[in-house]
Symmetry: C2
Subunit: 555 residues, 2 copies
C-alpha cells in the first residue's frame, strides 16, 4: 500500500549492485554540472549563489524518494529562476533578506500547489500548453535571461530591468563604462564553453571555466581591477527554518506560483516521459506532481528556491548511465560535501563566468527552427508561435504565456466554428462517397444532396452549418432529399440538437426530407434524449450514406 505512494520503497530494497557503477558515474557528472549551474541560476533568480547549492540538496533527495521517473535530475533551472525573479522582484529588492524570505514562501506555495494538483489529478492541465506556445515562450524567455546577464558579462550596472529593448539601448549607451577585463573573461568563457561542447563533449566545460577563471583571478588579483567576484560563499549545510507567512505577500505571489507550478511541471514531465518511453517504464503525471510538490515543500524549509526537473541535466544523467534515482542521492551527497568543505574555493569565481554559463545554456533553448517548421505545415500554428514569442518579449513572461494559451485555444475554437464542409458524390470504383470538389468524377443525383459537415455541432457553428446547407439547397432547386453524413460529427450539444430539429422540421414543410447517416453512438444517445426518434423514426438511424440512399431507392 505504502509502495503506491513512495516509489522508492519499490526500487530501494531491491537495489542491485550492478546498477551502482552507472548511478555513481551519472551522479558525479551531474554534480559537476550542477555546482556551477546552481550558483549561476541562483544569481539569475536574484539570490546569493549558495542558495543554488542548497536547492541542489534536500529537494533532490525528496524527489528521489517520491518521483516515478528513474532518470529525472531535479534542481534549479533557468526558466523557473527567471520566473522567480520576475514574480518576487516586484515585492522586494533582489538579494535582500526580505526577498529571500519571499522566495521561500513562494517555494512552499508552489510545492503545495503541485502536491494538491497531483492529489486532485489536475496534471492534465498542462495539455493545454501547446508545444508551439511552449517553444515560443521558452525562446523568448531564453533571450530575456541571456540579456539579463549582460550586466555581469560587461561589468556594467544596467538598471533597465527586464525590458529587452531598453536594456539593449542602455548597454549601448554605457559602452564606455565596460570593464575590459570582465568582458574578456566573459567572452573567452563563452567561446571555451561553445567549442568544448562541440569538439570535446566529454570534458565538462562549466567546471573547466570555473576552475581556470578562479585560478586566473586569484593569480593576477583581478578583483582589484574591477572584476566582480562571487566573494564569500558561506560553508555548511542549509539550516532548517519555517517560511514566514505574510498574507498580503501570499496573495501577491499566487499568479507567479501558479505559473511556476505549471511551467515547472511541464518541463519536468516532458523530459521524464521522453526518457521513460525509451526505457519502457511508466511515469505517472499526477504522481510526478506529488513528487515535485514534496521536493519544493521540503526545500522551502531548508533555504532552497523553486526546483523542477531540468531538461539538459536529465539528459546528461540518462546518457551518463544512471539506472535508478540512486544517482540523485549521489549528486546530492556530493553537493553536501561541497557545501561542507569546498565553498571557500568559489571566493574568486568571477560573476562574468556564471553569466557566460547561463548564456550558453539558454542559447540552446532559442528554437526558431520550430517556428519555421510550424509555418511550413500550418501557418496559423506558426502565428501562435510568433504571437507568444512577441507577447513574452514585449508584455512580459507571465502574461506572454497566457496570451499564447489564449490564442492557441482561439485558433482551435475558430477552426471548429467555421469548419470544412463538403458535398459528396459516389466513386463507383472505390465504392465510397467523397467530396465532389476533390473528386470531380464522383456521381451525384439531381434530387439528393449528400452533405458532410467536418466538425462537432455546437452553438458556435450551428449558424454556419445552417447557412452552408441552405446555400446548397437553394443552388439545387430539385432537391428532395438531404443525406447528412454525420461521420464527422463527433459530438453535439443541446443547443445544436434543438436547432437541427427545427431545421429539419422547417425543410420538411418545404418538401425536403432529411436522412442522417453514420450517426455516432454518443451523438445518437443525445438525439434520443432530445426526442429525435419520436419525430424522425428510422430517418436518423442509417449506418452509412449507402444505407440511406438504398432506402430511398437510389442505390
Amino acid at each position: 500500500m505504502l509502495k503506491k505512494f513512495i516509489p522508492a520503497l519499490e526500487w530501494l530494497p531491491n537495489y542491485k549492485r550492478t546498477d551502482l557503477s552507472g548511478d555513481l558515474s551519472a551522479g558525479l557528472i551531474v554534480a559537476i554540472m550542477l555546482i556551477p549551474q546552481g550558483m549561476a541560476y541562483a544569481l539569475l533568480a536574484g539570490l546569493p549563489p549558495v542558495i543554488g547549492l542548497y536547492a541542489s540538496t534536500i529537494p533532490l533527495l525528496i524527489y528521489a524518494l517520491f518521483g516515478t521517473s528513474k532518470h529525472l535530475a531535479v534542481g534549479p533551472v533557468a526558466i523557473v529562476s527567471l520566473l522567480v525573479l520576475t514574480g518576487v522582484s516586484t515585492l522586494a529588492e533582489p538579494g535582500s533578506e526580505e526577498y529571500i524570505a519571499l522566495v521561500l514562501l513562494l517555494m512552499l506555495m508552489i510545492g503545495i500547489l503541485q502536491f494538491l494538483m497531483g492529489v486532485l489529478r489536475l496534471g492534465f492541465l498542462v495539455n493545454f500548453l501547446s508545444h508551439a506556445v511552449i517553444s515560443a515562450f521558452t525562446s523568448a524567455a531564453a533571450i530575456i535571461i541571456g540579456l539579463s546577464q549582460l550586466k555581469h558579462l560587461l561589468g556594467v550596472k544596467l538598471e533597465a530591468g527586464k525590458d529587452v529593448f531598453k536594456l539593449l539601448t542602455e548597454a549601448f549607451m554605457r559602452a564606455s563604462e565596460i570593464n575590459p577585463i570582465t568582458i574578456s573573461i566573459g567572452i573567452i568563457s563563452i567561446l571555451v564553453l561553445v567549442y568544448i561542447k562541440k569538439l570535446i563533449p566529454r570534458i565538462p566545460g562549466p567546471l573547466l571555466v570555473v576552475v581556470v577563471s578562479i585560478l586566473v583571478v586569484y593569480g593576477f588579483n583581478l578583483e582589484n581591477f574591477g572584476v566582480k567576484i562571487v566573494g564569500e560563499v558561506p560553508s555548511g549545510l542549509p539550516g532548517f527554518s519555517i517560511p514566514s507567512l505574510d498574507f498580503n505577500a501570499f496573495l501577491a505571489l499566487i499568479p507567479i506560483a501558479v505559473t511556476i507550478s505549471l511551467i515547472g511541471f511541464m518541463e519536468s514531465i516532458a523530459m521524464a516521459k521522453a526518457i521513460a518511453a525509451k526505457e519502457k517504464y511508466k511515469v505517472v503525471p499526477n504522481k510526478e506532481l506529488i513528487g515535485l510538490g514534496l521536493a519544493n515543500i521540503g526545500g522551502s524549509f531548508f533555504s532552497a528556491y523553486p526546483v523542477t526537473g531540468g531538461f539538459s541535466r536529465s539528459a546528461v544523467n540518462y546518457q551518463s548511465g544512471a539506472r535508478t534515482p540512486m544517482a540523485s542521492f549521489i549528486t546530492a551527497f556530493l553537493i553536501f560535501l561541497t557545501l561542507l568543505f569546498f565553498t571557500g574555493m568559489f571566493y574568486y569565481l568571477p560573476n562574468a563566468v556564471l553569466a557566460a554559463i547561463i548564456m550558453v545554456a539558454v542559447y540552446g533553448l532559442i528554437d526558431v527552427k520550430e517556428a519555421k517548421h510550424l509555418f511550413k505545415v500550418r501557418s496559423v500554428d506558426g502565428w501562435t508561435w510568433v504571437i507568444t514569442f512577441v507577447a513574452t518579449l514585449v508584455i512580459g513572461i507571465e502574461l506572454g504565456i497566457l496570451v499564447g494559451v489564449g490564442f492557441s485555444l482561439i485558433v482551435f475554437i475558430g477552426r471548429s466554428a467555421y469548419p470544412h464542409v463538403a458535398e459528396l458524390g459516389f466513386l463507383s470504383e472505390e465504392k465510397v462517397y467523397r467530396n465532389i470538389k476533390r473528386y470531380p468524377n464522383a456521381k451525384v443525383s439531381s434530387d439528393v444532396i449528400i452533405f458532410r459537415f467536418d466538425a462537432s455541432l455546437y452553438f458556435a457553428n450551428m449558424t454556419f452549418f445552417e447557412d452552408k446547407l441552405s446555400e446548397r439547397i437553394l443552388d439545387k432547386s430539385k432537391t428532395r432529399w438531404v443525406v447528412l453524413d454525420f461521420s464527422g460529427v463527433n459530438s453535439i450539444d443541446a443547443v445544436a440538437l434543438h436547432s437541427l430539429k427545427e431545421l429539419i422540421m422547417t425543410y420538411r414543410e418545404a418538401k425536403v426530407e432529411f436522412l442522417l447517416a453514420g450517426v455516432k453512438g454518443p451523438v445518437m444517445d443525445l438525439m434520443k434524449k432530445a426526442g429525435y426518434p419520436e419525430e424522425f423514426y428510422e430517418k436518423i438511424t442509417y449506418l452509412s450514406v449507402d444505407h440511406a440512399l438504398k432506402d430511398i431507392g437510389l442505390h
Copy 2:
C-alpha cells in the same frame, strides 16, 4: 449601387397601396404599445420618461431606411435599459444632467461600434453567445429588472442598488414605510395586465392601465397621498445636440458599449431571422448591424438612448399585419404627434403603473423551462445555464454573461480534449465497422486494432489520444496492425501532426504498423506538408477501413 446600402430605395419607390392598411394598423398598435413601454424603460434606465419617447422617433426612421428586416420594431428594450443603468450609474447619478450626457455618448459609441462591426463583417461574433447562455442571462436580468422596480411599486425608497438579495432584505425591513395606495395601484395594474393578456388579448393592456390610472389619480388627487407621479413631461420634438466627448468617460464606457452592441444586436437578429424565415426573405446580419448602428448614431444627436429591435414589439408588429418598414414610419409619426400635443396627459401617470408594465413585460423572459430542457438533453449544457444565471444574479450582469460565454467555451474545449474513442469491429450483415462495445457481435481479428478517435487532433488532446491507443495496444499483445479510422478527425494542427508521426515511427520499431483510413481532404493536405507521404507512402491513403484491411489481406 446605392440600393445595396439603403434597402429603403428598393421597397419605398415600389410601395403598394395594398400594403398600406396592414402597415397602418401595425404602426398604430405598436405606437400604443411603445408609448407606455418607452417611458417605463427610460425610467428603468435611470432617465426621464420623455427620453424613452425621443428614442422611439429618429432611430425608428433611420432603421426603416437602412435595415434589411421588414418587420423589426426598433426602440427601447428592457435588457438594454438595464445595461445602460448598470454601466452609466457608476459614473454619474441617474437622472442628472451629467448622466444623460453620458448616456448619449454611450449611444454614439454603441452606434459606431455596431456600424464598424457591420462594415468589418464581425456579425459572426454573436454566434459565440450560446442560446443556453442568452436564456440564462435574460432570465437573471429579468429578475434584476423586476426587483429594480420594487421601489416604484411599493412607493418606498430602496438604496440597495442592484444586489438582488440586499434589495429584498431592505424591502422587507422597510415594509412599514410602504405606501398603501401606491402598492394597490401597482398590484391592481399587474393583475389587469396579466388577465387582459390572457382573456382579452385584443385590448392593449398597458394603454388601458395608463389611461385609467391617470384618471383615478387626477380624480382623487392621489398625488397628495404620497403616490409618486411622472409629473411634467416636456412637450415638443427632441432637439439636436452633439454628444460631448469626455475621454475618461469614453474609456470607462467601452466595456458596457461592447456588451450592449453585442447583446442588442443578438436580440435584434434573432427576431429578424425568425420572422424572415416565416416570410421567406433574407436578412443580412452585417447589414443589420449597419442599420442598427446608424439608428443609434442618429439617436445620439437627438436626445434618445440606446435602442435595438425588441422581441415582443416586433412580434406584435408582424402579427398586426405589418408588410413593410412603412409601419415603423407610422409608429414614429404617431410618437411625434404624442410629443407635440399629448405629453401633458401623462402628468398624473403614477410611477407604480410604469413599474407594473415593466414587471409584467420582463416576467415572460424568465425561462426556467429552457434550463429543464437542457438538463434533460445534456446536463453540462444545463450547468451552463445555471452558472450563467447565478453569475449574472450574483456577480453582475456584465460579468455574468462573460462567465457564461467562458464556461460554454470551456465545455466545448473540454469535450474535444477528452473525446470519445472506440475500437471497431466488422458487422458482416450491414457491411460497416462499428464500436465493439455497442455491437458486441462485430468481428475483430486478434492482430489488428481498428481505432476511431472522435475529435479533431490538436495539441490539447494528443496526449489523450496516445494514452488511449497505447492502452489498447498493451491489452492486445498480438497486435501487428493498427488501422486508424480518421473519418472523425476533421482537422489537425501542426503539433498533433508532429506527435502522430513520432508515435507511428516509435511503434514501427516495435513491429506495429499503422494504416490511416478515411483521411479527409484538408487533413491530407496538411499531412503532405508535414512530410507524411515520404515516410508512410500509401499507408495513409486508404479511402476506408475496408480498403486498408484488404491491403493487408484481411478482407
